[in-house]
Structures are given as structure tokens and as C-alpha cells.
Subunit: 390 residues, 2 copies
């Protein structure tokens, strides 16, 4: 029932172990739910309580540890032998004294790592300050080492099977974006548009059912069109306003993201000018993508191009994207921005996100691309234009 066959996970474990060896780790404590899924297949909405994959450096299967009621999900969704699945009793959950990391520490000690070099994901959402404090207290002789992003960097280069799943997500987002552009209309409530868009995201296609993306639909309209992460409201769409749509298809927790902008009415010249400059900047950015290019090269091509048109953007223009859970679909590794010297490799995948948030209005254009042997491939295909409606 895992999303991929066993040999896919074997290769992921091998590549992760190679980085563990470089970092001098005996064992890695993986708490990021996307990384747990990546290494074992584990997929459940249980990451609001502490849980982990324990990956020994040696050539043996990892362990899953989590709440007892989720152990059955581990049996159903992972490729792990059942004796590697460890559930803790329910009174560890949100208890004033007991903490699940005590159970994890005991497991690590039982496995012989009480004096080992243990990697942890120090800046992952799922690894709280107290998690580290409890581990340090319970394993006073262990050497705890921050290995944040170790697995994320492994994940940054996708396998052919992962690319295939992202292409399935691309088929979904193509459908979603068409539905979204259709549904944004003067007088309709923003929440009704969000409802229809979410329906399309989760239904997916006849061949590929969808999942709930790590970010909800961003529907930035009217006053909110300059606020990239605003929530939708009960308000209706208004004439003569922009609506920025940042959406994703999601398949087996893999994302293909896309942004397009709808203008209700006749767009004024300054909106058309920004739309044209952004599209031109996107072409310029994409034209430098190839193996060996640096992430900062892509941003520079964009910046110089829109600069000639009199525009600028103070934030990064994209990031590595793939497998993730809420609150965010990014891999948290490479960014398309000044100073990022990550070297592009085939099968890296990026969300090139050109969000132009102006004072009181905005324009967005974004696509997800794969680095190929010689350039780039856009995963999904929707016209890159300002959509003008009635």
C-alpha cells in the first residue's frame, strides 16, 4: 500500500545513509512528516503528535515510532517489517508530565545509541524546542547533532518515479486552474470559489485521484491581492479588481503548483504592463535553466529583465518543490534568489513563483518546472496570460 515499490525506498535510504556517513552520524531521527513518508512510505494525518522514523547508518530497515493508534497506519502504508513498528501508549499524548520523546529516547537507547551520534532535524516544524530538551535529558551520554535538511537535500533531486507522480499532479492542476478561472466572477463569494477549487483539487482526474495540498488555495482578491498569504472571506468578487490564484495539484502528497491572475473588467494599462513584464521575466528566467546553472542565475535573469521595465521584486522567485504536508509544499532547500549557489541538476523541480504584490493590488504568474538534461520542462500547461473576464 506504499505509494512506490520497495526498491524505490531502498535507493532513498542508500542516498540518505551516504549523507549520514559524511556527517558522521550513527543514526538519524527523522521527524519531518514528509521525510518520514519519503524514507518509508508512512502516510497519515498523525503528525500533530510526536512521531519519528529512526534510521540506523547500517544496512537494516528503519524503525517507525508513534502513537499506538497510528501503528496500524504504519503497517498499512509503509514497507517496514512489522517488528520495526513501535507504538507508545495514549497517555504520552498532551500529558502534563510524560512526553513522547521519552519513549523515543528509550527506543534509541535500546537500539544501542545511548552513546551514539544522533542526528535530529533541528529546524523542522515537527521538532519542537522541548523535543530536543527531553532527548538531551534522557540520553545524557549521546552526542546530539543538528542534521536539519539532510533528508530534504536528498529529496531535492527527484527519481523518475517521483517525476511521474508530479506529472500526475500536473494533470490535476491543469484541471484545477481551468475550474478556478471559470469560477471567479463578480458577485460570487470568495469562499464559494474556494469550495469549487478545493473540490477539483481533491477529486483530481478520473485516472489520478487528488489529495489535499500542503497549502490551501490562495485566492487573493480586491484588497487582499497584495497580501500573499491572506485567507479567503465571505465577500463577493468585485468588478475592476485582480484575483491572484496560487493553486496546486497534489498526488500522493507530491505537488505541482501554478499561479494565474484573473481581472474582472477591463484591465487598466498599468496592470497590462506588469502582466507583460512578468511574463517576459519568466521567459528570461526559464531560458537560463539547465544542469550546471546556479539558482541565483535564474533570479538574476528575471531581475534584469523586469528591471528594464521598471519593476522589482524584494522576495525570492521560487524554491524546490515536491513531497510535503501542511503547512507548506516547499522542500526548504534551494531558493531561486540572489546568493543561492545551488547547482541545478537533472530532475530537480522548482516552483518559479512570480508574485508581484503591489499596494492594494497584485499580479501572480507561476509554474512548476523540472530541470532536464539540456534545459527545462514545464510540468503543467495552462496559457501564461492575464485572464480577462466580463
Amino acid at each position: 500500500m506504499a505509494a512506490f515499490p520497495g526498491d524505490e525506498y531502498e535507493r532513498r535510504l542508500e542516498r540518505t545513509r551516504a549523507r549520514m556517513a559524511e556527517s558522521g552520524l550513527d543514526v538519524l531521527l527523522v521527524t519531518d512528516p514528509a521525510n518520514m513518508n519519503y524514507l518509508t512510505g508512512y502516510d497519515a494525518w498523525s503528525f500533530y503528535v510526536p512521531q519519528a522514523v529512526v534510521l540506523p547508518l547500517g544496512n537494516e530497515p528503519p524503525h517507525w515510532v508513534g502513537r499506538a493508534m497510528d501503528a496500524e497506519s504504519a503497517r498499512l502504508t509503509t514497507v517496514l517489517p512489522h517488528d520495526r513498528i513501535h507504538g507508545y501508549a495514549d497517555d504520552y499524548v498532551e500529558h502534563p508530565v510524560k512526553h513522547p520523546m521519552q519513549y523515543v529516547a528509550e527506543l534509541l537507547a535500546d537500539l544501542g545509541y545511548g552513546r551514539g551520534r544522533i542526528g535530529y532535524e533541528g529546524d523542522a516544524y515537527s521538532f519542537t524546542a522541548r523535543n530536543l530538551q527531553v532527548l538531551a535529558r534522557e540520553l545524557p551520554e549521546a552526542r546530539l547533532q543538528d542534521a536539519y535538511l539532510l533528508v530534504n537535500w536528498v529529496r531535492t533531486v527527484k527519481s523518475p518515479r517521483e517525476i511521474e507522480v508530479m506529472r500526475q499532479a500536473a494533470r490535476i492542476v491543469e484541471r484545477v486552474m481551468r475550474v478556478a478561472i471559470e469560477t471567479v466572477e463578480v458577485g460570487r463569494r470568495e469562499c464559494d470559489a474556494a469550495a469549487v477549487i478545493s473540490e477539483a483539487q481533491i477529486r483530481g482526474t478520473e485516472e489520478f485521484g487528488g489529495q489535499v495540498p500542503a497549502n490551501p488555495p490562495a485566492i487573493l482578491s480586491g484588497d487582499n491581492a497584495g497580501t500573499p498569504h491572506a485567507a479567503w472571506s465571505d465577500r463577493p468578487f468585485l468588478p475592476d479588481t485582480a484575483t491572484c490564484l496560487e493553486l496546486s495539484g497534489c498526488r500522493h502528497r507530491y505537488h505541482c503548483a501554478m499561479s494565474r491572475t484573473v481581472w474582472l473588467g477591463m484591465p487598466p494599462d498599468h496592470v497590462r504592463r506588469l502582466a507583460d513584464a512578468t511574463a517576459e521575466g519568466m521567459e528570461a528566467a526559464l531560458s537560463v535553466v539547465e544542469p550546471g546553472a546556479l539558482c541565483q542565475d535564474v533570479e538574476r535573469a528575471w531581475r534584469e529583465t523586469i528591471g528594464r521595465r521598471g519593476f522589482s521584486k524584494p522576495s525570492r522567485i521560487g524554491y524546490s518543490i515536491g513531497l510535503n504536508y501542511p503547512p507548506n509544499w516547499a522542500d526548504h532547500t534551494a531558493s531561486l534568489r540572489e546568493g543561492d549557489t545551488t547547482v541545478m541538476e537533472p530532475n530537480m523541480t522548482f516552483h518559479l513563483m512570480l508574485g508581484m504584490w503591489m499596494e492594494g493590488w497584485g499580479f501572480e504568474l507561476s509554474d512548476t518546472f523540472r530541470v532536464t538534461e539540456s534545459g527545462y520542462e514545464l510540468l503543467a500547461d495552462v496559457p501564461r496570460q492575464l485572464f480577462v473576464k466580463g
Copy 2:
């Protein structure tokens, strides 16, 4: 544009400051997005990067600090004076060297807390191990003190206005559950049911538009009916199986949760017996709810009742519920379980969640209730029965 009028936030700040004074704190660093929203109104999907509300003990407005691109959301959604909104530059985000907590630490020092007693939310998802390490490094003379759940406990007793919003969420979940029971059908894909359910959640009612709940629809069917947090799949619903539906209405990020179970076909006797025992256990649990009762009393009444029918449940039967963001709608304070001696007060709200996950099948029944002056009030009204279809 905040969800509540200003005096509502004033009262919340007062109650929070009273607890800060008891804990000897000069200032509280609030990073849990639900707590940030609770204290200021701030509402945006920006909590995948570090952000905080800084609440001084003295009678002055709090500060919002976050990514520069989200400062406009802070201006639009909070009751804060604009000079209290601080945005950090984009290159702090996911940077190999710079960390947003350096900016937060600088702000705390500028505000005069370099040697102060600073509370932090040590076990909140949003407060990583590295967040604390950076704060401790940058503020070597400050006294950093774990104040996890301080605001959550304030939130546990709802105001009349919060109850009103939870009643709006209740109107939504009544509609959602009817749609869900209708859509579960032999041969329909699980993802198609999830799509229709999500649509209903987000559309809300004509009066009250919906939001995306902190937990996605749980649709546990067939093999998954014994796995509480499993994802839906592309598989069709099968005859002679249970489907457990754990859903919520969500309004202004407040939740009213509910679970019901559908049986496709003629339910066997052991299913009916469990359904009857669970309903009887729920009545018994609710009958002891009143101000002054302890949370553990509710669980004991349940346990004794279902025990007489030969059933048991190894996990807690509920928790305080209200305002939250993904990954979870619980307040993370009081639990309905053995050993929890929280004293019930009027306007506490609980999700009484009777999930009976058996080997390869399951049954769920749950409702959200409010503690009243003399007993309890169920917020939403859907018949508490096993729904038998086709």
C-alpha cells in the same frame, strides 16, 4: 477586518497578562499561529516561516513580527497600531546562515528585554529546537522560560462571542455531515467523496462562509476503518464495510467537529452491538458534564458503561476544541481521560470523540459540546445513529 471587535481582544490580553504575572514573565513570545490569532486577530497562511506576537506584561499593544511580505496581512487582519508591525527581509527565509529568530531577538532587545524574563512556547509545533537555540545565543543575558500552553489555557474557556462563532461552525458541520452521509456509496471513489465533503466545508452556509478545517476530512473506509488518521485513496467504497467520517465545520478558524459512521449493506450484529454500546456510553459521559465536574469523571462514566457491554477503548475520549490551524484543531490543554483533573467551567468546549478502532473495521461517534451553567449543550444536531445505506 479582525474577526472580533477590539474590546474582545482587550479582554483576551488582560486574561493572558494575569497568567504572565503569575509566571513572573516580563514578556511573552507567542509563536503558535492560533495563539497569535487569538491575541491580535492575525490570520494568514504564513506560519510556515517563523513569526511571532510579542506581548509585553505592561498595558500596551502587542507587536507582530514576521516576514515583510506578510506585514500587509497583519495590517489588514489585526487590531494592532501599524507601528507595532515589524517585517523582516526575505533573505532571512530558509537561509543557510541567517535565521528569523535573530531578527526577533533584536526586536526583543530593542524593546528592553535583553535581560528580561521571556516566555516562549516550548512545545508548540511552530517553535523549533533551533528557534530556542538562536534566541538563547542572541540574548545571552535574558532568562528564557518555557510558557507552553499559557495562552492555550486562556483560550480553553470561550467568550460569548467565540461561542457564537462556534455555533456558526455547527451550522456548517450539520450541512457537511448530511452531504457526507449522502455521498458515501458503493462504487464511488473515496477521493470523490472527500472532494464533495471539502466543498461543503468551505462553502459553509449562505450566512456563514466556511474555512478549511485544521484537520482534513477523515474518511476511514474498508481496511482503513481501524486506522484513525489514514488518508483517503482512489479506491471505491465496498459493500459490507464501515466508513467512519470525522469532519468539522470551520468558521474564522473555530471548529465544531462531529463523527458519524455509515454502513454499506446490512450491518452484522457485532457492528450494531458496538454502535449501541457507543451511543449508550456517550449518553453516560454527557450526563456527568457540569461545572465542577472533572474531565476524568466524563471518561469514567463512559468506561464503566461500555465495560458492562464488554468493550474498552485504550485512548482518550476527547479534548478541548476551538480556534486552530493545521495540523490539528485541539486546544492541547484538557483531555477527557483517566487522570485529567481539569475542572469543567461554563463555556469550555470539548470534542467528545468516541473512536472505536477495531481489527480491520471501526465505528466512530463524536459531538462537540459546550459546558453550560448547569450541564451541557450539544452545538450541532445530527441523529446519533449508525447510518445504514443500500
